[in-house]
């Protein structure tokens, strides 16, 4: 259940972010979770909800983007999606580190991280934002 550690890190980071600014309310926190990271989405949501209960950000939504895995093969120069083990016993096909092209060993190059991507909040004071950063699923207006 390392999702609890991850969720705690999210909440600590956001609370720190809030404490440094004139923020009335956090609407949503957006995460980017790599396909090759070992984070279970439902558990992460549950932990986030449980931890934020007693905090200033208790009503905030947690939005999760899955970042697809990309691998690179040093044997045949393949670069792209990994080979999946379709008939393993998991609920979903399992990404492997076997090259889909030549069967050699590949290195993961994308989809291993788990990061806070952005935060959406209501502020009393004007805040400088990066243009085009609004990538939240639902527009609250």
């Amino acid at each position: 259940m390392h999702e609890l550690s991850i969720a705690s890190a999210v909440v600590d980071n956001i609370l720190e972010f809030v404490a440094e600014r004139s923020i009335k309310r956090v609407i949503a926190v957006r995460l980017a979770v790599g396909e090759l990271s070992h984070v279970e989405e439902e558990q992460l949501r549950f932990c986030y909800m449980a931890i934020t209960q007693e905090t200033l950000i208790r009503d905030s939504a947690l939005e999760i983007d899955r970042i697809p895995a990309v691998v690179r093969c040093h044997h045949c120069d393949y670069s792209g999606r990994p080979k999946y083990w379709e008939d393993a016993l998991s609920a979903a096909p399992v990404p492997t580190l076997q090259c889909p092209n030549c069967g050699g060993a590949v290195e993961p190059v994308e989809g291993t991280d788990c990061a806070i991507k952005s935060v959406r909040f209501v502020s009393d004071e004007p805040v400088e934002t990066v243009p085009g950063s609004s990538d939240f699923a639902s527009d609250p207006s």
């Binding site: 016993l89 990061a115 609250p140």
Partner: protein, 224 residues
């Protein structure tokens, strides 16, 4: 039903943070690694399920190495010191890392253990992770190699049931091979499953009871 009033959109802001949640641990792991490299020490992270034989394997490996090189063991366990006591019987330095409710070791805990250890004259440190097949994978500790211990008593589908653990490992030990026949488990099929996930990984079948494969594991670890 709770009524909610939305703020007008001009008061709503989005800020990009791009803040990695795994970075804090990864950075501490790098610091541990730098400290280990400075002392010429190789740390080996030993992962695997409860009962896979991690402690017994480490005890056997230490037995074969302690007269040749300086060896220490960090023993991660939720609450008890049983495993640490067992390894301490080999008269090598042992640090017990109690995670209490934690399901994995992290780089911070290992860093603390490193600061408690006399590093001079050590060549190898075994870090026994918590018996868990998922969580430790996400938290590198600063080791040079990660070993997954699988035992035939975990059944024939052990590898395909817990694939993620193997992707970040450099060595897989298939343990308790003396029981393979009684269990009706094929060691070569387990090995094939591992290679299907990661073609270049080294797989060594062992039996801590008969001593089969122990020297091979030690040679592989000293070569990393």
């Amino acid at each position: 039903m709770i009524q909610q009033i939305e703020a007008s959109p001009d008061e709503i802001y989005d800020i990009e943070l791009e803040h990695s949640l795994l970075e804090a641990n990864a950075k501490l792991a790098q610091e541990n690694r730098a400290l280990l490299d400075h002392h010429g020490i190789t740390a080996i992270d030993v992962m695997g399920a409860i009962g896979s034989g991690k402690t017994t394997l480490i005890t056997r490996l230490v037995e074969g190495l302690k007269d040749q090189i300086g060896v220490a063991v960090f023993n991660g366990d939720a609450t008890t010191s049983n495993d640490a006591d067992l390894i301490a019987s080999q008269s090598v330095p042992v640090v017990q890392i109690a995670t209490v409710k934690g399901c994995h070791l992290d780089a911070n805990l290992v860093g603390k253990a490193l600061r408690k250890t006399k590093l001079d004259n050590l060549r190898l440190i075994f870090i026994e992770n918590i018996g868990n097949l998922i969580c430790p994978a996400e938290f590198p500790l600063g080791s040079k190699a990660r070993v997954v211990v699988v035992s035939v008593t975990e059944g024939p589908y052990m590898v395909r049931k817990h694939p993620h653990m193997f992707l970040g490992a450099q060595l897989v030990v298939i343990n308790k091979i003396d029981l393979a026949e009684a269990m009706g488990v094929s060691v070569s099929e387990l090995s094939e499953d591992v290679h299907r996930l990661k073609p270049d990984i080294t797989v060594i079948p062992t039996s801590c009871k008969t001593g089969a494969g122990i020297d091979q594991v030690n040679s592989a670890l000293l070569a990393v």
